[in-house]
Point group: C3
């Protein structure tokens, strides 16, 4: 078992690739076969696995989310921190705070087109903490 | 490894905090470092990680879900058990049946504003079973 | 720890049950108590846990998803592979690529009405790879 927490700076709302950071934790863990679990310690940023070749996929996802969960929706009463506040909580609940990927031959066993992404839902730059736990043998 | 199943009574549709129940299973497991995995054995109630400070966040989430997945939507043909039946299945699929949280220093390593919640999607009171598995050392 | 990757042929867009395939991997692993983790290595097909008794539930889910994420939505710019291309990525992000189910008494501890499903989001037939990792004792 290997566990570590990494900090990621985000520039505000965006879908930021973290695959290389996670892959390096797996390599350094020395674990050859098992699972790599990711957990984000926030309620207004989330984790997704997504196509990593065409940046238009992430732009389309962001536009889709803005239409699905409108910032400043009059339905929302929790709005102390601005129009993105409650929308960020809803987007987080509709995606993931916790994800696991198999480890095989000492590497993250992602599919050819899969990348790991931190989705920042707040408008402003943030510091985000993700804990990576590698279990196996 | 420690595994136990707990029963939760819900009063019907609501978002009910279960953080303290899960934290006490982790403490009693004696595991200092690893993962705590939650699994709910139902298809009309689900698990979420959400902001736990302002109750308005859960109310807004519930209202958002009612608009996104209308009860008794004429689109639905599965409706034997009432207007909340199929809506409950869709809400479950759009959130989580399975979640994992890191364990560090013998405790659930949640972020400052994160809580664990059982989301009851049916109108009527139910008994719900959640299995908690703690893996680590 | 036991890990294996299985191939599933899908006939194109559909929600296909895989419970029996996963249950047999758990049985053959010899692990009595722990977790079974599933991971799908694709960004246009996903995993869900859903009611497995009435096929109308899966049809309603499919119809709901078509309304929520319209194929060929003019919002989408990533459309090289057709109207189902970007819709498939969005549906994948809104459901699961990674799921874990407890193992108890040497069996998958699903609820009475729960089944495991591979959701194919592309129109055309595909080969899909799922890695099953069983951890425990």
């Amino acid at each position: 078992m290997h566990q570590e927490t990494k900090e990621f700076a985000t520039p505000g709302r965006c879908i930021q690739e973290i695959t290389a950071d996670v892959a390096s934790v797996v390599r350094e863990s020395g674990i050859r076969s098992g699972l790599c679990q990711l957990f984000i310690h926030h309620t207004s940023a989330s984790l997704i696995i997504c196509e990593n070749a065409d940046p238009a996929v992430r732009e389309d996802l962001e536009h889709f989310s803005q239409r699905l969960v409108p910032d400043g929706d009059p339905l929302f009463t929790h709005r102390e921190e601005g129009a993105d506040d409650m929308a960020a909580h809803v987007r987080t609940v509709l995606t993931q705070s916790s994800l696991a990927i198999p480890v095989a031959d000492g590497r993250l066993a992602l599919g050819t087109w899969q990348g790991l992404f931190l989705w920042e839902h707040r408008y402003r730059a943030q510091q985000r903490r993700i804990t990576i736990t590698v279990l196996g043998e």
